[in-house]
C-alpha cells in the first residue's frame, strides 16, 4: 500500500515515454521535431562527455550560485528590517508588494542595456528576480514567530541574543528555507531566461543555439539535464525544510 502510489506514478511516467517512442515508430509524431527517447538518451550521455557542454553547465551553475548567495542575505536582511521596524515596514509595504507582483522578466532588456550580455548581467538579473521572494519570506518568517514564546523566554531570563538564538532562529527556520527554495526556483528560471535571450556561454545559450539550428536530440537532451538538475536542487532544499520543520504540526 505504501509503495503502490509511487509505483503507479513511476509506471505513468514510463508509460508516457513508451507512448512517445511508439508514436514516433508508428509515424504519428515526426521524428525530426520530436526524436524518440531512444535517440535522446544516448545523446544525453554524449553531451555529458563534451568538455564545452560541461563548461557551459559550470557557467550556469556559477551564475545561479552567486546570484543566490547574494540574494539570500540581502533579501532576508531587508525583510527582517522591515518586519522589526513596524513604522518603516508599513511605509515600504506597498512598494515591496508592488515590486513583488511586477513581472520581472520584462525588465530583462534593461539589464542588457546596463550590463551587456556577460556573466554579471545574468547574476544581476537573477538577484533582481529572486530578492523580492526572499524579502517577503523574511517578513513572514519574523511574523511567524509566536510573541508568547518570546515572553516565555524573557520570563525565564533570556537576554536579547538568547531570544534570537533560542526562539527566533528555530521558529523562523522552516519559513526561511521555504522562501529560499521558492527563490531558488525563480533564480534558476531568471538565469536561464537571460542566457537564452542573450549570452556568450551557459547552458541556456546552448539550448537557444541548438533550437535555432534544429539540432533536436541535443536540444531535448539538454532540457532533460536542466530539468533533472533543477528538480534535484529543489528536492535537496525540500528535504532540509522537512527536517528542520518536523516539529510543525502538519495536517495529515
Amino acid at each position: 500500500m505504501r509503495y503502490l502510489e509511487p509505483l503507479l506514478v513511476a509506471v505513468g511516467v514510463c508509460g508516457i515515454f513508451g507512448l512517445w517512442e511508439a508514436m514516433v515508430a508508428g509515424g504519428i509524431i515526426n521524428a525530426r521535431i520530436a526524436p524518440p527517447p531512444s535517440t535522446i538518451a544516448p545523446m544525453l550521455v554524449e553531451l555529458l562527455g563534451r568538455a564545452n557542454v560541461i563548461r557551459s553547465l559550470g557557467v550556469t551553475l556559477y551564475e545561479v550560485a552567486v546570484a543566490f548567495l547574494i540574494s539570500v542575505p540581502v533579501g532576508f536582511f531587508i525583510g527582517f528590517t522591515l518586519a522589526e521596524m513596524p513604522g518603516l515596514g508599513a511605509v515600504f509595504r506597498p512598494v515591496v508588494n508592488f515590486l513583488f507582483g511586477v513581472p520581472k522578466s520584462i525588465f530583462l532588456p534593461i539589464f542588457i542595456l546596463i550590463f551587456g550580455v556577460g556573466i554579471e548581467q545574468k547574476i544581476a538579473f537573477g538577484v533582481f528576480t529572486t530578492v523580492f521572494v526572499l524579502i517577503l519570506g523574511g517578513i513572514s518568517a519574523v511574523e511567524s514567530v509566536p510573541r508568547e514564546l518570546v515572553t516565555v523566554a524573557r520570563a525565564y531570563g533570556a537576554n536579547r541574543l538568547q531570544v534570537v538564538r533560542e526562539i527566533y532562529l528555530p521558529a523562523m527556520a522552516p519559513v526561511l528555507l521555504e522562501s529560499a527554495r521558492l527563490g531558488m526556483i525563480f533564480n534558476i528560471t531568471a538565469v536561464l531566461l537571460a542566457e537564452i535571450y542573450g549570452a556568450r556561454d551557459g547552458i541556456g545559450y546552448r539550448i537557444a543555439g541548438w533550437g535555432e539550428s534544429l539540432q533536436m536530440p541535443q536540444l531535448y537532451a539538454a532540457l532533460a539535464i536542466v530539468a533533472t538538475l533543477a528538480i534535484a536542487v529543489n528536492e535537496l532544499l525540500q528535504q532540509l525544510e522537512t527536517r528542520l520543520g518536523a516539529w510543525r504540526q502538519r495536517p495529515a
Binding site: 513581472p103 520584462i106 526556483i185 537564452i196 541556456g204 533550437g211 530539468a227
Partner: protein, 251 residues
C-alpha cells in the same frame, strides 16, 4: 515618529513622490545614464511618440494572452478540480506537480519555436505550458487544504462525484480558484511577452526587444509600462472578482 495611520499614509505618499521625482530628476541631471534609465517624462513621451506602433502590435499580444489564458487557466483549474476530487489522485499528483513546478519552463521556448514557428502559435503554446503547472498546483493544493469533513459529509448524503465537485468542492474552494486564476493569469501575461521578446515578428515583447537592439531605451521603457498596465488591469479585475465572491459567501 511613524505610529498613527495618518502619519504612515503621509510617509507613503512622500515615498511615492520621492521615487517618481528621483526617476525624473536623476537621469535628467546625468546621475543615472539615460541609456539605463530614461527620465519618467521621456518614457511617457516615447509611449506617445510611438503610439501608432504600440497600437498596431497590441492586438496580437492581447489575442495571445486571451487564448493562452483560456487554455492554461481553464485547463489547469478543470484538471485540478478533477484530480483534487479523489484523495488518492491528489496524493499521487502533488509531489509530481511540486517537482514539475521546480522545472524552469523557459527552456521550452526553443522547442515551441521549432514546433510552431515564429507566429502566434508558439507564444500561445509557451504561455500555456508556462502557466499550466502553477495553476494546476495551486488548485489541487488549495482543495487539499479544505476540511475533509465537507466532502465526506457530501459523500454520506450520497452525492455522486460530479455532484460533489459542482455543489461542494467548487463553491467551497472559490477563493482558491481565484488565487489560481490570479497566479495563472499573471504567468500567462509574462509567458506571452517573454516569448515575444525571445523570438517573434509582432507583439509588445517584440517591440521591446527591437527598441533594445536600437539602444532606444525610452522605447523599451514605454513597452514595459504598457505590459505593466496589462498586468495591473488583470490584478484589479481579479481583486474585484475576489471581493464579489467574498460578499457572495458571506450572504
Amino acid at each position: 515618529m511613524l505610529r498613527t495611520p495618518s502619519q504612515i499614509r503621509w510617509a507613503q505618499a512622500a515615498l511615492a513622490a520621492v521615487i517618481l521625482a528621483g526617476w525624473e530628476l536623476l537621469p535628467r541631471f546625468g546621475v543615472i545614464p539615460k541609456l539605463f534609465v530614461p527620465s519618467l517624462s521621456e518614457a511617457i513621451g516615447a509611449l506617445y511618440e510611438y503610439r501608432a506602433e504600440y497600437l498596431a502590435h497590441l492586438p496580437a499580444t492581447l489575442v495571445e494572452i486571451l487564448v493562452s489564458y483560456l487554455l492554461a487557466c481553464g485547463g489547469g483549474v478543470t484538471l485540478g478540480m478533477l484530480i483534487a476530487s479523489s484523495p488518492r489522485a491528489r496524493r499521487m499528483a502533488l509531489p509530481v506537480l511540486r517537482s514539475a513546478y521546480a522545472v524552469p519552463m523557459v527552456v521550452l521556448y526553443p522547442v515551441m519555436m521549432v514546433w510552431f514557428g515564429l507566429g502566434m502559435g508558439s507564444k500561445v503554446a509557451f504561455a500555456t505550458v508556462f502557466a499550466f503547472v502553477p495553476t494546476l498546483l495551486t488548485t489541487v493544493a488549495g482543495v487539499a487544504s479544505l476540511s475533509p469533513h465537507l466532502l465526506e459529509t457530501a459523500r454520506a448524503f450520497g452525492a455522486s462525484r460530479w455532484q460533489r465537485i459542482l455543489y461542494v468542492q467548487v463553491p467551497a474552494s472559490l477563493p482558491t480558484l481565484i488565487a489560481a486564476l490570479r497566479l495563472g493569469g499573471a504567468l500567462v501575461i509574462v509567458g506571452v511577452t517573454v516569448a515575444e521578446m525571445l523570438g517573434a515578428v509582432e507583439g509588445l515583447g517584440f517591440l521591446i526587444t527591437r527598441h533594445r537592439t536600437l539602444l532606444n531605451s525610452p522605447g523599451v521603457y514605454g513597452g514595459i509600462i504598457l505590459v505593466l498596465v496589462i498586468t495591473s488591469g488583470h490584478e484589479v479585475l481579479l481583486r474585484r472578482l475576489e471581493r464579489r465572491v467574498e460578499k457572495f459567501r458571506e450572504s
